[in-house]
Symmetry: C2
Subunit: 309 residues, 2 copies
């Protein structure tokens, strides 16, 4: 089934306790595209870069089945740039530089060939841009998922809430869920957020896994315990890409299948953090992914034959 | 199979964002005894109280099949008292008062009738006392599990490491695992700690669940997402009691059965935090426990029919 993904294609510069990069390729849209590409043979991406963006990376994306017709290349403009430094715990980071560049006036144009998308994943972007994408679709997709972040809650909460009304699945982290809802308890936060629009809510807890809420149902997926997290950048986007790629490839958004999609997204995220940037995500094999997913099965599998004696 | 539990039987005074108690009954040994009592028909406890300890609570423990022959009642002395205040996140707390009283010179005497224990759970106490208990057993139990805390790592690390050599299962939280090993990564911490003696390591992560490490195997059990955590006091002891009660009642300490024991311990801990002190743990029914364990099954159950498309 057809998958439309929207998100930034960008430059990042990253410092972690393990090292430092020069400008490398990043952006939510890039991580999403690579991650979902292992599940859907083709996908349509909507994004924007400047003419400083390397053709080599565009070729890599094309090579993974990513249709770039909706990727605008702005002549004489510069690609979005973000730079950040991770703290020792790798769970928190400081933003050092944000240069919006082409994102400042990004108008998400949907090519005619993209219309009729069954599944849509809106990566982290301004809520106005996300809303515009949904409004420009001629037909209502089967499922619209979106990511957002605390930054938009700080400066554009009203617009964010308007966008949320149009979305089926919201994917955010625990701190963002708390900020959006004003509730500390994630169970209470999940209730309030689902009253805002999304009937499905995924709360990512980084190294502590992820929760899926829908109706009275809850599913918990762990993160794989790793010896080292080398670079967490893009892990959330990679999770979302794996999740939505799995849903689109199976054309099944039942709660049972969403569980599998979350395990799949978690497996993809566990690859992402092993190297800087998108390195690890560019050349995975199916058997590597299968094996990683089986690690999640082994990690959580138990058979409760007898309970109270 | 016979279960020997060792731990403080004490008074607590607790402040949480939800309220405040006067002196109530607490202590690791108390929580362990109540929790494991739902799985083993009898258990032998080794502990000490002053003669200020209420007979009513001793009767309650007896009523739950707890043999008190090894509970010393020190005439003219006072019971151990701890008072603490939880922060708003309920994950951290300040100790307000610690009065060791009878624990200061606690000599853990093992009644002759307790000898031959198959399973031994050493609740949090000084590592010297824990070691003395093991040394006073005439026969090596099938499995010895112990809990400890950062306090002993601060003041008695050498003694703690001596005790660890004698233990099969260590049950500690994530911060304690990091302090004990000097490693931030829990996977690395688990390796180092298992080189100290215990072949099984359980790392409790509070609301984020628990990990079991053994050889090359890892198992992850989630915590149940709760609307409110009313009082976390004793949750770790309750977990350990449920874990070891389940192991003893099934007389099976295979890795597969330890997984079930961890789910059981997690279920018991989820009851503990719903009310102040041991209230909730004193009168559970088997069907309540069964139902709670099934909530864990539902929370983590998935069936990975198809992975990479």
């Amino acid at each position: 089934m057809s998958l439309l993904t929207v998100g930034s294609v960008a430059f990042d510069a990253i410092e972690t306790p393990f090292g430092k990069t020069d400008k490398i390729i990043g952006g939510a849209g890039t991580y999403i595209a690579f991650s979902s590409s292992y599940f859907v043979p083709t996908q349509n991406i909507v994004s924007v870069v400047g003419n400083d963006f390397p053709q080599e990376m565009l070729d890599k994306l094309k090579g993974r089945g990513v249709n770039l017709e909706g990727l605008q290349i702005k002549q004489g403009e510069k690609t979005f740039f973000w730079s950040g430094r991770y703290h020792n715990d790798m769970n928190s980071r400081d933003t050092l530089v944000t240069e919006l560049n082409v994102l400042e006036h990004f108008d998400p144009i949907i090519p005619a060939s993209y219309q009729g998308a069954d599944y849509v994943l809106l990566g982290n972007l301004s809520p106005q841009v996300q809303k515009t994408v949904i409004e420009r679709l001629d037909t209502r997709p089967k499922l619209v998922a979106m990511d957002t972040m605390n930054f938009w809650m700080d400066i554009a909460m009203d617009a964010l809430k308007e966008t949320l009304k149009l979305v089926d699945v919201l994917i955010i982290n625990d701190e963002e869920a708390r900020q959006l809802s004003g509730e500390y308890s994630l169970v209470k936060a999940a209730k309030k957020i689902r009253e805002m629009g999304p009937t499905y809510l995924i709360i990512k807890k980084g190294e502590h896994g992820a929760l899926l809420f829908h109706g009275e149902q809850v599913f918990f997926a762990p993160a794989l315990p790793l010896e080292e997290v080398f670079d967490p950048t893009g892990a959330g986007d990679t999770f979302a890409g794996g999740f939505m790629g799995y849903i689109a490839s199976t054309d099944d958004y039942s709660f049972e299948n969403m569980k599998r999609a979350i395990i799949t997204g978690s497996a993809m995220a566990s690859f992402c953090v092993e190297e800087f940037g998108t390195n690890k995500l560019e050349n995975l094999t199916k058997s590597e992914i299968e094996e990683r997913i089986q690690s999640f099965v082994r990690l959580t599998d138990f058979d409760m034959v007898q309970t109270v004696g």
